[in-house]
């Protein structure tokens, strides 16, 4: 079911003389001629809602949606000491990178992927370092990285992202979003999500999106800044608590009217209702600063 086209750049018969030149240059520069990147392309026919998994130690992963019922995987491998396996089982495509010998440097292991998937694909991506970008994919997604940054645009579905130090940016996304990190910063812009749960320890969180009626928005960090922007038409119930830091608020909140509202007893806290209080917003920090600001 897969069509594989392997295009090793340096094997073209037209560049034989160039290869000799490259080898000389390589020797002079101390760079091995066999370190030229290799490009590999594979195609897989799939049905509705395919599942695509990618395991990669280091590199740039770019995933985009297209209208074909097909998954295309283009991998660019930095060295010949690394290989990419891409296999299809039913409606699932698994892509993984592995080293062919021990003690490879991160540069040797580097593999970049450009992957096109149907719009309703579900993605599971593990990429330790480099970056992950996904655009226009509407299926559920699970992305885990250590140091790689994650960038989602126009995504929907159940989106879960976990990084250790990588940053996270989400533009114009919908559905549910759950993101956690230790030191990564989060930018959540123009969201139309009904559930956002974002937690980072020392990173900053910027939320500048819609508060949908009945939506729940929970932003939490240990230190750093949590900044939330609102517009006059928004409607939310807000609780903002910083145990040892500050809470700065530009929203005119009315005191809560319901009896069982949790009242934090510690730190700097404010809580109240903006307009009809349709969405629920919880902002928590240990010793960071919480800013609730009007949208420009």
């Amino acid at each position: 079911m897969s069509t594989r086209r392997f295009v090793p750049v340096q094997w073209s018969s037209q560049v034989t003389r160039k290869a000799a030149g490259l080898l000389t240059a390589g020797l002079l520069l101390g760079v091995s001629a066999f370190a030229s990147p290799r490009r590999q392309e594979q195609h897989f026919k799939v049905d509705a809602r395919p599942v695509i998994t990618i395991h990669n130690p280091n590199g740039l992963i770019t995933v985009k949606a297209w209208t074909k019922s097909e998954v295309m995987v283009i991998s660019t491998l930095a060295s010949d000491q690394v290989a990419v396996d891409a296999e299809q089982m039913g409606n699932r495509v698994d892509v993984s990178t592995h080293g062919l010998s021990d003690s490879l440097s991160p540069d040797d292991m580097r593999t970049d992927f450009q992957i096109n998937v149907p719009e309703d694909a579900e993605l599971q991506i593990h990429n330790d370092s480099g970056s992950v970008s996904v655009a226009n994919v509407m299926g559920d997604m699970n992305v885990e990285t250590v140091a790689a940054g994650v960038d989602l645009e126009d995504a929907a579905g159940y989106l879960t992202v976990k990084t250790v130090g990588g940053s996270f940016q989400c533009l114009r996304c919908a559905g549910r979003i759950e993101v956690s990190s230790i030191s990564g910063n989060f930018r959540l812009i123009d969201l139309r999500s009904y559930h956002v749960w974002a937690q980072t320890s020392t990173g900053n969180i910027l939320f500048n999106g819609e508060f949908l009626p009945n939506g729940t928005y929970s932003l939490k960090n240990y230190s750093g800044v949590i900044e939330v922007r609102f517009s006059p038409a928004d409607s939310f119930d807000m609780s903002a608590t910083s145990l040892k830091g500050k809470v700065n608020n530009e929203a005119k909140l009315t005191p809560p009217t319901h009896q069982h509202h949790f009242v934090p007893k510690w730190g700097n806290a404010l809580f109240g209702t903006f307009n009809q209080g349709r969405a629920k917003v919880e902002l928590t920090s240990f010793d960071g600063t919480i800013n609730i600001l009007k949208r420009d």
């Binding site: 003690s103 140091a147 240990y222």
Partner: protein
């Protein structure tokens, strides 16, 4: 009430079959044997089909046998007890984790630490009005978390060794973030000691332990893969 003809009845009787009742439809059915027969036929089909569910049987056992083989082949399932081949190859740094939790994957490992902490906290989390309760809570927390901290420290040392030869960017990031979490734990512990009743500080402390367990599990995984 308007009298309807067969043609109109046929174009409108789908909702009738779903339980909607209209007087004109009812009247037509009373007076038209042909349309009445159609409704009877559909009811008979439905009744016969409904009786099929009582004779449903399980799939033959060979279906499960073949399915299980395929799942094992694809590596989608494993037994909770480690097989001997795997334990022989395991890095010493990861053994303590697997030994404690029998090969339980990372999210459950991290959850296990958190569960242990929460169990202790709930056991002592009644209304803390009296100083006696407060002291009990502090002591209880210390008892619960001391072995946990010791385990985490040991795991940290083992994980550091195993990470020596892995991706240096990743290794650096993991170490750096481990230091962040350690600092975070120290500050949260200090807050909890100063104000044991502070639920927010306790929540942050538990979260910090969970993060540390998760990080260490990630470090061990990478060390294991390298070996």
């Amino acid at each position: 009430m308007a009298i309807i003809k067969c043609e109109e009845f046929l174009s409108r009787f789908e909702p009738w079959m779903e339980g909607e009742r209209h007087a004109d439809i009812q009247a037509h059915l009373r007076n038209c044997p042909h349309c009445h027969a159609i409704v009877n036929d559909l009811n008979a089909i439905q009744a016969e089909a409904r009786s099929w569910s009582s004779s449903e049987t399980d799939a033959p056992e060979r279906v499960w046998t073949a399915l299980r083989e395929q799942l094992e082949k694809e590596g989608l399932i494993r037994d909770t007890v480690l097989d001997s081949k795997r334990s022989g190859r395991q890095a010493a740094s990861a053994r303590w984790l697997w030994g404690l939790f029998g090969g339980v994957p990372r999210p459950v490992l991290a959850g296990a630490y958190l569960a242990a902490l929460i169990a202790v906290a709930f056991a002592l989390s009644g209304p803390i009005h009296k100083k006696v309760n407060e002291e009990k809570w502090l002591e209880g927390t210390r008892i619960a978390t001391s072995p946990l901290r010791a385990e985490l420290n040991t795991a940290e040392q083992n994980s550091a060794l195993s990470l020596a030869s892995s991706n240096s960017d990743v290794s650096a990031s993991l170490h750096q973030n481990l230091a962040i979490v350690d600092n975070y734990i120290a500050l949260c512990e200090k807050s909890v000691r100063e104000d044991p009743q502070n639920e927010i500080a306790r929540d942050y402390l538990y979260e910090a332990y969970r993060q540390k367990a998760d990080l260490l599990a990630q470090m061990s995984e990478r060390g294991e893969n390298v070996q």
